[in-house]
C-alpha cells in the first residue's frame, strides 16, 4: 500500500506561534496506480520520558499531508507540553498515519506510520532577518529518503519550508536539484516538489546522491546553500535465482573422508536481490534447498547446508548488493568402509517469495561412494629398542594404508599373542589418533638376556564394519645394560641443568638417560631449555596418548598445574608452550621457568 518516503520528520515550534501556522509537509508514495493518500494524526501526543497527552495543538490536512498548528501555542501550552521533561530541549512526538481511504476513528494502528519530532523552542519565532541562509532553506533534518523499487512515480518531498514560506514573505528562497544526467528525479520550480519520474530498479542502482542547492535573495544580497539529498531504493523480491557460471552439476566423491558433517561438494546460486542476514532463520526459510528423492537411505545419509552472504554486482558502474547462496552437500552420518554406490542426487533450490515461475533452480550432485580397504601397506614391521629404554619409551607408530586420510572411520589397533615370556611392548591410540603408538610397557623385560627379538601380530579392525587386517611386528632389543644410578627420580623433567639431567634415566627415556634440550632466545620463548626423555616427542606442544599415561613422562607437554616464572601455557592451558630460561617440573606439582644464572644464596637468611 501507500508508504512514507521517510520514517521520521522533525521541525521546530516556537512559543506564541499562531494557529494555522504550517509546520511540515509530509508526502506519501503510491504502491500502485490509482491510490489516493489520506493522512491522519492519532489522538495522543507523546511527550518525551513516555508521558502522553491529548493533542489539542496540531492537525494535518487529510488530502495533502500539511501539518499545521491548530491552536496558538502560548506560554501555558508550552509548560503543559514540557512537564517532566528533563531534557534541555523539550520534544514532543506525533504519529502520522496513512491510508488509501478516508479514516474511520478506530483506525490508528494501521501498519504505515511516520513519526514527527517537534522541538518546542522556549522563545518566539526568530525574525526572518535574523535567520541564516541555512535556516531559511533547510531544517536540521538530513534530506535522506527511501523509495520502493517497481512502484509508480510520484512526488516525495517539498524543499520549501512551509513555516518560512508563511512567515518570511519578503525573502526569495529558490531551489535547484543538482544531479547527474539521466537520473529518474525531477524538480518542480513552482511547487518546489521533488518527484521520482519512473519505476526504480534497485538491481540497477540502489542509491542516488544528489545535492539540493538553495538560493536566498533579500534586497541586493544573495546567498547560496547546498546540502546532500540522498535517495535509497528499497528492495523487493523481484529477481529469480540464477546460476552464476551456468554450472548446476558437481561431483561428490566419498572415499577416505566418510565422516558425518563432511562437505562433499558445493554449488552456488546467485540472486540479484538482497537477503538480510537478520533474522537469520527467516532468510534461510525464504531460500530453501531440498533433496528431491524418495530413497530413505539418501535422506538419511545426506543433508544440504545453505549459507549465504552479501555480494556486490556492478551492472553499469554503480555498485548494488546481491546475494550469493551456497548449497553444500554434506554427509549426514558416517559411511561404512564397505559401502559403495554411484547415483545422481538432485537438490531443488526455491526462492519462495519470488512471484514468477522461474523461482526455482535444480542442482545435480554426481555422488560416487568408493569402497576402501583395510590393509597394512607392507608385510612386516620391525623396530629396534634399546635395552635401557624406560617405561613409556615411544617405539614407533603403526597404521594401515592411507590411515592419515581416513575421517569417520574408526580403526582400532591391537597386539595379539606375542611369545609369552617377553611381553615388553604395548600399543595405545589417542581419541583423535589414526594410528597406534607402540611403547615400552614393561622395561624389566628388556633387561632379560633371553629376550632378544619379540614377535607380535598387530590387528587393525574397523569398528563399524568389523573388517580387519593383520601384520607381523618384530621388536629387536639392542645395546648393553647401563649400571643403574642410585636415587634417580622417575621424571627427567625435574633436572635443572645438563649434568643433573644426563646422569639419570626416567620414564620415557629411549637409551637409559634423559636428554638435555639447550634452548636459545631471550625472554619467554618456545625454545626453552629443559630435560626430556626424548627431544623428538617432548616437548612438542602435544600431550600425546603415551605421555598422558603418567604426568612424570612429559609434564612439559601435559601439566595443567601451576607454572611459576615467565611462561605461556599451551592450548587448553595444558603444558608449557613457552618459558623463560630453564623449565623444570616436580611431577604432579608445580613447574618452574627461571633464568639458570641466579646463583643460589647459600646463606639465604642472613644476606
Amino acid at each position: 500500500g501507500l508508504y512514507f518516503p521517510r520514517k521520521e520528520y522533525s521541525e521546530n515550534v516556537y512559543i506564541d506561534q499562531a494557529a494555522g501556522t504550517p509546520l511540515l509537509h509530509i508526502r506519501a508514495l503510491r504502491d500502485s496506480h490509482g491510490e489516493v493518500a489520506h493522512f491522519h494524526l492519532c489522538q495522543n501526543l507523546v511527550i518525551s520520558r513516555a508521558r502522553s497527552h491529548e493533542n489539542h495543538w496540531f492537525q494535518i490536512r487529510e488530502k495533502n499531508g500539511l501539518l499545521y498548528l491548530s491552536k496558538n501555542l502560548d506560554r501555558e501550552d508550552f509548560n503543559m507540553l514540557s512537564v517532566g521533561n528533563w531534557m534541555s530541549l523539550s520534544k514532543v512526538m506525533l504519529y502520522v498515519f496513512l491510508s488509501s481511504h478516508p479514516f474511520q476513528e478506530k483506525e490508528c494502528d494501521s501498519a504505515t506510520r511516520a513519526t514527527v519530532y517537534l522541538s518546542l523552542i522556549n522563545a518566539t519565532a526568530p525574525a526572518c532577518s535574523s535567520l541564516t541562509a541555512r535556516q531559511l532553506c533547510f531544517t536540521e533534518m538530513d534530506l535522506s529518503f527511501h523509495i520502493k523499487e517497481n512502484k509508480p512515480p510520484g512526488t516525495f518531498h517539498q524543499l520549501q519550508l512551509p513555516s518560512i514560506h508563511h512567515l518570511c514573505q519578503n525573502v526569495s528562497v529558490s531551489y535547484k536539484l543538482l544531479a547527474a544526467e539521466g537520473l529518474p528525479f525531477q524538480y518542480n520550480e513552482n511547487t518546489t516538489g521533488v518527484s521520482v519520474t519512473r519505476r526504480l530498479d534497485r538491481e540497477e542502482r540502489e542509491r542516488y546522491e544528489l545535492i539540493a542547492k538553495c538560493t536566498v535573495r533579500e534586497g541586493f544580497r544573495e546567498m547560496q546553500v547546498e546540502v546532500p539529498f540522498l535517495v535509497n531504493v528499497l528492495d523487493e523480491d523481484d529477481s529469480p535465482p540464477f546460476l552464476p557460471n551456468g554450472t548446476n552439476t558437481a561431483d561428490a566423491i566419498v572415499e577416505y573422508n566418510r565422516k558425518e558433517g563432511t562437505v562433499l561438494a558445493t554449488l552456488t546460486v546467485c540472486d540479484a536481490d538482497t537477503t538480510p542476514i537478520y533474522p537469520l532463520e527467516s532468510s534461510r526459510k525464504k531460500y530453501t534447498g531440498t533433496i528431491i528423492t524418495n530413497d530413505p537411505w539418501i535422506n538419511e545419509t545426506f543433508r544440504v547446508e545453505h549459507i549465504f552472504h552479501e555480494v556486490h554486482f556492478s551492472p553499469n558502474g554503480s555498485q548494488v548488493r546481491g546475494t550469493l547462496h551456497e548449497y553444500k552437500l554434506v554427509l549426514n552420518k558416517s559411511i561404512s568402509v564397505t559401502e559403495h554406490r554411484y547415483f545422481q542426487l538432485d537438490v531443488l533450490v526455491n526462492d519462495t517469495e519470488f512471484p514468477g515461475p522461474e523461482r526455482s533452480v535444480m542442482l545435480h550432485f554426481n555422488v560416487s561412494i568408493l569402497p576402501v580397504s583395510i590393509q597394512f601397506p607392507n608385510v612386516t614391521y620391525q623396530f629396534t629398542v634399546n635395552r635401557n629404554a624406560g617405561r613409556f619409551a615411544q617405539i614407533g607408530k603403526i597404521c594401515i594404508e592411507n590411515c592419515m586420510k581416513f575421517y569417520g572411520v574408526n580403526i582400532t589397533y591391537k597386539l595379539l599373542s606375542p611369545n609369552v615370556s617377553c611381553y615388553a611392548v604395548g600399543i595405545l591410540q589417542g581419541r583423535e589418533d589414526k594410528y597406534g603408538s607402540l611403547y615400552v610397557n614393561d622395561s624389566s623385560v628388556l633387561h632379560r638376556p633371553e629376550c632378544k627379538e619379540i614377535q607380535y601380530t598387530v590387528q587393525a579392525t574397523d569398528r563399524q564394519s568389523r573388517k580387519h587386517a593383520k601384520t607381523l611386528l618384530t621388536i629387536v632389543l639392542e645395546g648393553s645394560l647401563l649400571k643403574n644410578k642410585e636415587g634417580c627420580l622417575d621424571s627427567c623433567a625435574v633436572s635443572k641443568n645438563r649434568a643433573e639431567c644426563e646422569e639419570c634415566g626416567g620414564l620415557g627415556v629411549l637409551t637409559g638417560r634423559c636428554q638435555w634440550r639447550q634452548g636459545s632466545g631471550k625472554g619467554i620463548t618456545t625454545n626453552y631449555s629443559t630435560c626430556t626423555p626424548s627431544i623428538k616427542t617432548c616437548p612438542d606442544g602435544t600431550c600425546d596418548v603415551v605421555e598422558s599415561k603418567d604426568l612424570a613422562v612429559c609434564p612439559q607437554d601435559c601439566t595443567s598445574g601451576n607454572i611459576i616464572g615467565g611462561h605461556g601455557k599451551g592450548i587448553g592451558n595444558l603444558g608449557i608452550k613457552s618459558g623463560h630460561g630453564i623449565c623444570y617440573c616436580y611431577p604432579r606439582r608445580n613447574c618452574y621457568c627461571e633464568k639458570g644464572d641466579i646463583k643460589e644464596q647459600l646463606c639465604d637468611d642472613v644476606c
Binding site: G84, E140, L178, E189, I277, Y278, L280, H312
Partner: protein
C-alpha cells in the same frame, strides 16, 4: 522474598528522585499504586500502545502512575540490583514509548560530575597530574596507576585472565564470562582509573596499540550484522533473552545515545556540553553486545566502532549506517575523548568537518542542475550482472 520491612509510606505524588527498585517498593507498599501498576503492565503486554491508551482502565492506570515515583525513577550504572531496576524501568517505558524510537531516553540518572572532577581525583590517587604525567606514554602511566590500586589491579586482572585465556580450538572462547568480567571492571573501578586506560592520548603507535588492547581488542567480528541486534531490536529475540540480557544492553545503548548524540548547538558538540556523561556512557557499553573499541592503532586517530558491519542488512542499511556513524563519526564522542586525552574539560579545537552548509560530503561530485522535466532512458538489463557475481570474493 517480599520487599524488606515496608518503609514509612511517603505521600503519593511526593517524588524525591529514587531508583526504580526503591520506587517499585514504594508503589508495592501503596495499594492504589500497586493495583494500577499491575493493570498498566497487563495493558502494555503485547498490545499496540494507541489501542492501550484508548482503553479507559489503562488510561486511568496511566494517570495514577504518572504521579508515582515509578514514573520518574531511573537507575545508576553499576548499582546493586541494576538489572532489576532496568527491568522495572522498561516495563513502563518500553510499552509507552512503543520502543521504536531510534533514540530512546536513557534509563540512567543524568550525570552531573564533570571531567575536571575525574582529573582532580586521578592526580590525587596517582600522585601525578594526569596531564603532566610522563609525556611519553599516557596509556602506560594509566596501567601503572591501575596496578598500584588494589581494586583496579584485581578487576583488571580479572577480565584480562578471563578474556585472554588460550582455549582449544573446539572450545569457543567464553564470551559471556569475558563480557561479565569487563562489565565488572568498568562498573566497579572509578573513572579516574578506567578513563585513563580507555581514553589516554597517544603520540606513537606503541601507545595507541596499548590503548586498543585495553579491552584486549576482543575481536569477534560477527558474521551477523550485530548492528541490527543492538539497534534495540531485542524485541525480536526470544522473550527470555529479551528481558534479562537485553535490558542491560538496551539501557546502556540508550544511555550512550542520550549522552553522546551530536548536539550541534552545544560548543563541545555534546548534550549539556558534558563530556564526562558521554565518556561514562561509552565506557558503559563495554562488556555488552555492542562493545566498541578503537579500530586501529593510529596514534592521533580516535575512531572507535562496535565489532559489527552493515553487511547483509538488506533494506535497513541506512539505519545500520546511521548507527555505525554514531561511533565512527560522532563529533561529541570524538571531542570528549580528545578533551580527556588533553586533560581539559573545555572544548578542544574542533577538528574535522562540522558539516558547514556548503561543505559537500567527500563522495559527492558537483553535478549539473537537473532539467525540470528530463525524461530518462530506460537502462536495459545489463548482462554483465552475471559475470560480476562470479568474480565475487
Amino acid at each position: 522474598a517480599g520487599p524488606s520491612a515496608a518503609p514509612p509510606a511517603e505521600p503519593l505524588g511526593w517524588r524525591a528522585p529514587v531508583d526504580c527498585v526503591r520506587a517499585n517498593e514504594l508503589c508495592a507498599a501503596e495499594a492504589a499504586c500497586s493495583a494500577r501498576y499491575r493493570t498498566l503492565r497487563q495493558c502494555l503486554a503485547g498490545r499496540d500502545r494507541n489501542t492501550m491508551l484508548a482503553n479507559k482502565e489503562c488510561q486511568a492506570a496511566l494517570e495514577v502512575l504518572q504521579g508515582s515515583p515509578l514514573y520518574e525513577c531511573r537507575c545508576k550504572r553499576g548499582m546493586k540490583k541494576e538489572l532489576q531496576c532496568l527491568q522495572i524501568y522498561w516495563s513502563i517505558h518500553l510499552g509507552l514509548a512503543e520502543g521504536e524510537e531510534f533514540y530512546e531516553a536513557s534509563p540512567y540518572e543524568p550525570v552531573v560530575s564533570r571531567l575536571s572532577d575525574i582529573f582532580r581525583l586521578a592526580s590525587i590517587f596517582s600522585g601525578t597530574d594526569p596531564a603532566g604525567a610522563s609525556k611519553s606514554n599516557q596509556c602506560l602511566d594509566a596501567a601503572k596507576a591501575c596496578n598500584l590500586n588494589d581494586n583496579c589491579k584485581r578487576l583488571r586482572s580479572g577480565y584480562i585472565s578471563t578474556c585472554s585465556r588460550e582455549l582449544p580450538a573446539a572450545e569457543r572462547c567464553s564470551r559471556r564470562k569475558c563480557h561479565k568480567a569487563l562489565r565488572q571492571f568498568f562498573d566497579r573501578v572509578p573513572g579516574e582509573y578506567t578513563y585513563r586506560l580507555l581514553f589516554c592520548s597517544c603520540r606513537d603507535a606503541a601507545c595507541a596499540e596499548r590503548r586498543r588492547q585495553t579491552i584486549i581488542s576482543f575481536r569477534s567480528p560477527l558474521a551477523l550484522p550485530f548492528i541490527l541486534l543492538s539497534l534495540g531490536f531485542y524485541l525480536f529475540l526470544s522473550p527470555s533473552l529479551a528481558r534479562s540480557r537485553a535490558a542491560g544492553a538496551r539501557s546502556r545503548l540508550a544511555d550512550f545515545h542520550a549522552n553522546c548524540r551530536a548536539a550541534p548547538q552545544a560548543p563541545g558538540g555534546c548534550p549539556g556540553d558534558n563530556f564526562q556523561a558521554c565518556l561514562g556512557s561509552y565506557a558503559g557499553l563495554i562488556g555488552f553486545d555492542v562493545t566498541p573499541n578503537y579500530v586501529d592503532a593510529s596514534p592521533g586517530g580516535t575512531v572507535v566502532s562496535p565489532w559489527c558491519s552493515c553487511k547483509g542488512s538488506g533494506n535497513r542499511e541506512e539505519e545500520c549506517e546511521t548507527f555505525l556513524r554514531d561511533f565512527t563519526a560522532n563529533p561529541c564522542l570524538r571531542n570528549a575523548i580528545q578533551a580527556f586525552g588533553n586533560g581539559t574539560d573545555g572544548v578542544p579545537a574542533v577538528k574535522g568537518p562540522s558539516a558547514p552548509a556548503t561543505a559537500l560530503p567527500p563522495k559527492l561530485e558537483r553535478s549539473p542542475a537537473l532539467p525540470d522535466a528530463a525524461n530518462d532512458s530506460n537502462a536495459t538489463y545489463d548482462t554483465s550482472l552475471i559475470t560480476t557475481c562470479t568474480s565475487v570474493q
